[in-house]
Amino acid sequence: MRLFGKYLLILFKSQMQYRTSFWLLTFGQFFIPFSVFAGLYMLFDRFGQIQGWEFFEVALVFGVIHMAFAVSECLARGFDMFSTLIVNGDFDRLLVRPRSTVLQVLGSKFEFTRFGRLLQSLIVLIWALSKVEADWTLMKGVTLLFMIASGVMIFTGIFIVIATMCFWTVQGLEIGNILTDGGREMAQYPLNIYHKWITRFFTYVIPFGCVNYLPLQYILGRTEGSGVPYMLAPLAGCLFIVPCLLLWNFGVRRYRSTGS
């Protein structure tokens, strides 16, 4: 953990060397999801609601998902850019060091400009929280934190899986964007507005449903009977990262260097 802190410090210093570009990019990262959110607002302005969900309820989901995405994009950028490590043969160097490869890849890149995105989602989240109709209890607050943490785990897991594919394909796969960007785009609405098969796939295979739909019902007090399973759903979502890490370790063992 201390090593990870050191990695972060070094990367932060190196990125601050290009100050103007850093601020411009942070600023831009703020505006990309902002325009999407503005679009969301306009649609609700026009239609009022989406299958029984009010604007602020959807905004809550939007905030949670985008925050989780921003955090994991910050964190797991090393995995996102992993194909360059493989192509250049730099991964060999990581293997000879006496630390876990996951930690080293995590520490190899950290995109501080994503804080712009984070800030935007934080604003949306706070706004939604102040307007949404729910009676807040401690348990609900905890559930909200679980949702964000679980979202981070899921996105990071996807990044890891896509990076693992590079062990076999060498080149990065653009198709992985379906799961990361597509997943984010999709999960910003409550999952039950989609078709059954989409909902199922994104609940049981990639557990976005555990992040947005199930705990949201608990927070809004729409559950019947005990709320505990709904509350614990995000934790189940966290488990998604376990098979991803196993797959990663399997891939590392299969790794053949491309040479230099």
């Binding site: 103007t20 570009s21 411009l24 990019l25 831009g28 505006f31 990309i32 325009s35 999407v36 503005a38 679009g39 306009m42 649609l43 302005d45 026009r46 239609f47 009022g48 609601q49 989406i50 299958q51 796969l173 653009e174 198709i175 964007n177 379906i178 960007d181 597509g182 785009e185 999709m186 609405y189 507005i193 989609y194 078709h195 989409i198």
Partner: protein
């Protein structure tokens, strides 16, 4: 003119080299299209008083957006040109015996065309065969289809002229990322890429109609689905031409200015 044409052919050939990238792009765009359509379906599933645009027209709008993404996305960029400016290799370009504006314009145009040609046919073909709520409907009559093609091409010319302005701004700022990002986000929103223009609030529509961005994306797509009737479309074509002339003129003027005091970077 002949120089421009050969640059154009060269770029087209390079674009065709990256077929697998195009394939991955197509898959992503399909998924994207489906998700967006499902969201609109959910919005339209409630009783609505008088929607400004029907669901079928929205579906058409979205598929066309996905198919012609290369025609309408402002963030689509040529890093080569940026590097020319920031590394100082622009000096070589200036030695060439043809106008820089025309040459770059042809380059950018070719890039977008090759990418669009690769992507649009598979997407359109599949979208035309999909089951009912997702199907891309054909234009109401052949005349509309022809009109659509005409305004789409004109829109493409306008868009390339706009993106030329981004490249020219690099002469002054030296960092492409900032202006590209700002132009990209604002331009896309104003072109109706995030929310179709008819669904925007009326105050925003006034702004959108005053700017050229929608002429490249929103306008052709609505002509296709018949949301904009033929006579109105015909009346808009002169506006398109006017914008095109204005943008090219501004671009040439700005480029001339920038080139007169250009600093060759690096050594």
């Amino acid at each position: 003119m002949r120089a421009c044409y050969s640059v154009f052919r060269l770029k087209l050939a390079t674009g065709f080299q990256y077929r697998s990238a195009a394939l991955a792009g197509i898959a992503t765009q399909f998924f994207w299209g489906f998700i967006i359509i499902m969201v609109y379906q959910a919005f339209y599933s409630q009783p609505l008083a008088d929607p400004p645009i029907s669901l079928t027209q929205i579906v058409t709008y979205i598929w066309l957006q996905q198919a012609f993404l290369a025609f309408i996305a402002l963030w689509f960029r040529d890093n080569e040109l940026f590097q020319l400016i920031t590394t100082g290799n622009i000096a070589y370009e200036l030695c060439r015996p043809s106008g820089l504006y025309g040459l770059w314009y042809a380059k950018l145009l070719a890039q977008r065309l090759s990418s669009a040609v690769l992507r649009c046919f598979p997407i359109l073909a599949v979208a035309l065969l999909l089951p009912s709520p997702y199907r891309l409907t054909l234009p109401p009559d052949p005349a509309t289809a022809l009109l659509f093609l005409l305004v789409l091409i004109l829109g493409l010319f306008i868009l390339v002229a706009v993106s030329m302005l981004i490249y020219i701004s690099t002469f002054i700022t030296m960092s492409a990322a900032g202006s590209l990002l700002m132009f990209g986000v604002a331009g896309e929103f104003l072109a109706g890429m995030i929310v179709p223009v008819p669904l925007m609030p009326s105050w925003l529509q006034t702004i959108v109609y005053a700017l050229p961005f929608r002429l490249a994306a929103d306008f052709p797509f609505r002509v296709y689905s018949g949301h904009i009737p033929t006579d109105e479309a015909l009346a808009t074509i002169p506006i398109q031409l006017l914008w095109l002339a204005a943008l090219v003129w501004i671009g040439r003027f700005a480029m001339g200015k920038a080139l007169r005091r250009v600093v060759i970077q690096g050594g």
